[in-house]
Amino acid sequence: MIYIYIIGVDMAQPRVFCLVLLTVALGAQALTPSHHLSLSDVERLKGLLSQPFTDLASAYYSIVGLSKLGASVADENDACQFLKAQLDPMSVDSLFFAAEASQAISDCEIPVSNETRDILLAAVSEDSTVTQIFRAVSALSSLGLPLASQEVVAALVARIAKEDNVLAITTALQTATRLSQQAELGGILEEIEDLAARLDDLGGVYLQFEEGLEATALFVTAAYTLSDHADTEPPLKEDQVIQLVNSVFSKKSWDSRSEAFSVACAAAALSSNRFHVPVIVSTQGPATVSHSQPILHVGSTLLLQSSVLVESAQAVASKSVVLSQAPFSLRDGIFELNFMAGQPASGYYQFTVAVTGDSRLVANQVELKVKVSTEVAITNMDLSVVDKDQSIGTKTSRVDYPFKAKGSFTADSHQNFAMTFQLVDVNTGVELTPHQTFVRFHNQKTGQEVVFVAEPDSKNLYKFELDTAERKSEFDSMSGTYALHLIVGDATLENPILWNVADVVLKFLDEEAPAAIQSKTLYMPKPDIQHLFREPEKKPPTVVSNTFTALVLSPFLLLLILWFKLGANISNFSLSPSAVLFHVGHACMLGLMYIYWTHLNMFQTLKYLAIIGSITFLAGNRMLAQKAVKRLASK
């Protein structure tokens, strides 16, 4: 019997809640919550709130927050004493924290005096901030003091016009929940819708204020508390509610006490308001059923008065409906259903589970994926060695699982090795086609491993044939004894199989025995590569170069001799300054060329050349002019 396990939450204690995960439904389904607080998350929340408090504000958050979660502080008397001690009767904030916290503790009374009342009443005016008005009104109502609701409404409306931010309006909504129901709360109720329009939609999954988690949680609390108080359904659509649930409960560790407090308040508001109660349904433990474990556990947060039923269960592979409108039975607050009674075939099933019974339920239809697993058995395993030309009859031997075949099978290049078998479901006898059916050959000596796939034919009979000649490249033509293993596996099988069926001796032709490239040596360091540096160009022997250097310089000597013979001389050399300067400058230019060759780059050279060149030019110009004058004069 399979029992679907659902955790029921007793709605008689509206303060107890735990939101359980709702699996995300894929496909064209309504949005379902993807975040929730599990029991451990709630414990963590309580833990954060239970930390010792040092001032009135943290005392307030802790005491009231824990009470929303259905828990209480460790020592109530101590807490009460703390509140009375820390109270500053002149401060509105102090009075608010103390009054609210004392309400949450039983038998804790804060002393009230006329001055207290006057201070609180004075805070209710257009000149105080919304927070001040809220705290004053809450303190007044918690302390049992009378207050004029209409005046408060007027002050709130005036303040909302001035303070238009999210937190202020949320606080105004909270204030309205403390007022008498006869007051005109219509204008403030409309603010819920306006505020909801300000929420940011993130990816269609989250809906939150840009001010953050705390603002969103406080808004949820305020909206639902006020809607309950005014008995008007809040203008939030089902999808919006789910998105708000995702936003508020996506964070599992909270930064501050006030954030934890806001989350606790939101959770309490969502689980016990009169209009929208999100419900969460999920499986407890793996969503798998089988013959040995026919129980499918499903948890949810819910009222006991509801009923859960499977609207339809459809096999994923064949799309046939296996179950329809089957109700769950409730046992110890847990919903159970027997699924294996219908003898479903192994595989995956898509369940559509609905929770009914309360019109407030939101997101009460869920898709769950359930796996039915089974055990497989191998039958009719026949091994044979078939001759290729079919001249010799086949020798078939049957092997039973888990034993190994007695003799070994020999196949050389003229023969094929064949294997046939069937896979059946142990419980139903139905033939199975699991995902993985591998045939593995393992050579013990060389460590080689070759894996093939066995394929089923149309009658679900598995066949495997090894053509020795054709497949020799996969075996690297290594003849020898190979251990044959059959591997069967699938997600829906509880007993995957690795079975050493037999030993097969394979003989290959032209064995190259490439012993070098074995898997063992594949990962050994390879031989070092010696880097060959670029060979320098072949240069001629130094003798030749030296000879030619001398040869190339020799015409200069010839030139000098020729000039001497011609009678070229420097007798006309005038020692005028420009001539000297010119020759010096020219010599410098030639020297610069040499320095350029050895040290400088083009830019530097051009710079120096410009300097020297201009001097040389000017001097040379002068000198040549003088020479020209002399020449023309002598003519």
């Binding site: 040869l551 010839l558 030139l559 000039w563 350029y596 020479k627 020209a628």
Partner: protein, 113 residues
């Protein structure tokens, strides 16, 4: 045939030694020197290969460039060509020669590597 060649050559040499002025002979000697240097460099390259090709090119082009500039100088200072170069005095020709050589040397040194 060879007779006429020899006679042409001997006639040419005779005319050359008598008619050309000393200045031009000086320049001719310089040109001959440049020619020899270039030819020897080329011979070396043929024998040994063009290994530092840039160096060979730098050296060879230096010789070729110098030869050309020398020829230009010779043309410009030859008094027989005065009609063609009315605005260019001998000094000016020499100054041009020097300037062009500066540029040539700059390029050659850059390329010689």
């Amino acid at each position: 045939m060879s007779n006429s060649v020899i006679s042409v050559i001997s006639r040419f040499l005779e005319e050359y030694t008598t008619k050309t002025s000393n200045k031009l002979k000086v320049v001719d000697a310089y040109l001959f020197y440049i020619l020899l240097t270039g030819a020897l460099q080329f011979l070396y390259c043929l024998l040994v290969g063009t290994f530092p090709f840039n160096s060979f090119l730098a050296g060879f082009i230096s010789c070729v460039g110098a030869f050309i500039l020398g020829v230009c100088l010779r043309i410009q200072i030859n008094p027989e060509n005065k009609g063609d170069f009315l605005s260019i005095s001998q000094e000016r020709a020499f100054a041009d020669f020097l300037l062009a050589h500066t540029v040539l040397h700059l390029v050659v040194i850059n390329f010689i590597g």
